[in-house]
C-alpha cells in the first residue's frame, strides 16, 4: 500500500442522485503534490466523484477524507474553506459578474495558504485577462472562459484543485496551452485531480490515474506504466 503522505482519501464512496446510484464503492487516494487523472466514458461517474468531494453531493461523513478530516457530509462552502477548489464542468462563470469580479469572488472564502494568489499573478498565468477584466464572461471565447474559471479557483488559494473536464468544447491548440500552464498552477505542494476525456493528455499530465466504468473503479495505476490496451479494456469494461 502507499506509504507516502495521503492528502485526499475517498473511502468506499457510494453516490446517489435521488434513487439513482452513480458511484459504487469507489476508493481513490491522492498524495501531496500529486496529479491524479480520472478517465472514463460519459456517464461513468467522473463528475459525480468531483461533486462528492467538493460537497455538491452530500455523502456519509467518512466517505471523503481530506488531511484526515472526514468531510463527506460537509457543505460546499465548508469544503472550499478547507482549501479544496473546483473548476466546474462547463466553466460556469457568473454571468452577472465581470471577469474581474469573477476572479474576486473566487477569493470569497478568505483563505490564505503558502501561495497567495492575486489578480496580478493570475494575469501572469493568463495574460489576455489583463485586457478583459471589465468584460462580461459572455464576451469571452470558450478557451478564455476556461482560463478565467481556473483563475477563479486559484484565487481561493487552494491546496487541492479539482479540474472537471476543462478541455470540453475547446480546440486542441487551446487545450494544449491550458495544460502547458498546469505546472505553474499547481506548484508549491498543490495536489490535483483532473477529469479528462482525452486519454493521451490524461496520461501525460498525471502521476497516476484511475479509470471509472459505470460507477466503479476499473483500473488504477501509474500513468507512465499503464498501457493503452489496459486502459481500453477498463474504459469499456471488456
Amino acid at each position: 500500500m502507499l506509504m507516502a503522505e495521503c492528502v485526499l482519501k475517498v473511502n468506499n464512496l457510494d453516490a446517489f442522485y435521488g434513487d439513482f446510484q452513480a458511484l459504487f464503492n469507489v476508493n481513490i487516494e491522492v498524495k501531496a503534490s500529486e496529479v491524479v487523472a480520472i478517465i472514463g466514458s460519459n456517464g461513468a461517474g467522473k463528475s459525480t466523484l468531483l461533486k462528492s468531494i467538493s460537497g455538491l453531493i452530500k455523502n456519509h461523513t467518512p466517505m471523503v477524507e481530506y488531511k484526515s478530516i472526514k468531510i463527506g457530509s460537509y457543505r460546499p462552502d465548508q469544503v472550499s474553506k478547507l482549501g479544496i477548489a473546483l473548476v466546474p464542468e462547463g466553466r460556469q462563470l457568473f454571468p452577472s459578474l465581470t471577469v474581474k469580479e469573477n476572479l474576486l469572488i473566487g477569493a470569497a472564502a478568505n483563505r490564505s495558504s503558502g501561495s497567495e494568489w492575486t489578480i496580478e499573478r493570475v494575469v501572469e498565468l493568463f495574460p489576455f485577462i489583463a485586457e478583459r477584466l471589465g468584460s462580461s464572461p459572455a464576451d469571452l471565447s470558450g478557451g478564455q472562459q476556461q482560463m478565467v474559471a481556473i483563475g477563479r479557483a486559484l484565487m481561493g488559494n487552494p491546496d487541492f484543485i479539482l479540474f472537471d473536464e476543462i478541455s470540453l468544447g475547446l480546440a486542441p491548440v487551446i487545450i494544449k496551452s491550458i495544460y502547458k500552464a498546469l505546472p505553474n498552477i499547481i506548484k508549491g505542494g498543490v495536489s490535483a485531480i483532473i477529469v479528462e476525456q482525452d486519454i493521451g493528455m490524461a496520461k501525460s499530465v498525471s502521476n497516476r490515474l484511475y479509470c471509472l466504468q459505470e460507477g466503479r473503479v476499473s483500473l488504477s495505476g501509474t500513468s507512465s506504466e499503464v498501457s493503452f490496451e489496459q486502459i481500453r479494456k477498463a474504459y469499456f469494461g471488456v
Binding site: S54, G55, L56, R75, P76, D77, V79, S80, K81, A85, L86, P88, Q92, F94, P95, S96, L97, E101, L104, I105, G106, A108, A109, N110, R111, R152, G156
Partner: protein
Amino acid sequence: MDWVNAVLQGILLGGLYALFAAGLSLIFGVMRLVNIAHGDLIVLSAFIGLTVTEVLGLSPFISLFFVIVFMAILGYFLQRTLLNRTIGSDILPPLLVTFGLSIIIQNVLLEIYTADSQKLNAGSIETQSIQIFGEINLGVLPCIMFVTSVLIIAGLQHTFYRTPLGRAFRATSDNPEIAQIMGLNKSHVFGMAMALSLVVVAVAGIFLGIRTSFDPSIGPGRLIFGFEAVIIGGLGNLWGTLIGGILLGVSQSIGAQINPGWQLLAGHIVFLVVLAVRPKGFFPRVEG
C-alpha cells in the same frame, strides 16, 4: 397650478412607493422569492416605531435606528429559519408560507394594537413647507423623504455593484451551487439579503407612519403598490423601480385630483396599461 401641484405631490409620494418596491425587488433579484408579507412587514415597522417612540419618548426619526436594527435581525432570522426552506423550483411553498405570515402578522398586530388608526408624530416639521415657483408649496417632510429614498436606492445600487456583499448576492443569484464552491454560504447570503430588504422596509414603515395614518390591515395595499412600481419600472432594475414608484405616485395624485375616490383606481389602471403595452416594464433587466 393645481395640476402641477398634484404632479409634484405625486412625485414625492413616488419616493415612498419606490422604497416599498426596492425591498421587494431586492429579494426577488437575489433569491427569486416574492414575499407576500412584505407590506405587512412595512406596517409592522410602523407599529414598532410607534411603540419605541411611546416607550422611550423619542422622535420617530431617532426611533428609526432601533427599528432598522430590529427589522434587520428579524429578517435574517426569518430567512434562515423559515423562508430558506421554502426556496426551490416550486412557487407554491414560498407563496403559501409568506401568505400565512401576512395573515399572522396582521392578526398579531390586531391583538396587540387593536384596529385603531395610528400615526407617528414627527413634530412641527410635518407642517413646514417650502415655496417654489412662487405659488407651489412643497412640504419639507415629503421632500426629505424623497431625497432619502433616492439616497437609499443609490446605496442599494452601490452595495449590489461595488461591494463584496453585492458580489455575493449576484453570484448566488446567478448560480447558487457554484457560488457555494467559492466559499459562500447560501443560507447566510440569503439571510443577509432579507436583512437588507427589511432595513429598507423599516425606513419605508417609519416614513409611512409619519406621512399617513396606519392600522394593521393596510399591509396588502402597500404590497400591491410596491409590486406595481416594480412591474412598471421593470424587473431587476432599482433605478427603474424609482421611476415606477414616481409614475404610480403621479397617477394616483392626478386621479385624486379628478375625483378623490379615484386615487387608487387611477394607479391600478396605469399599472394595467403598462402591463398591456410594456409588459417588461420600462427598464427591465432580468427575466421575471
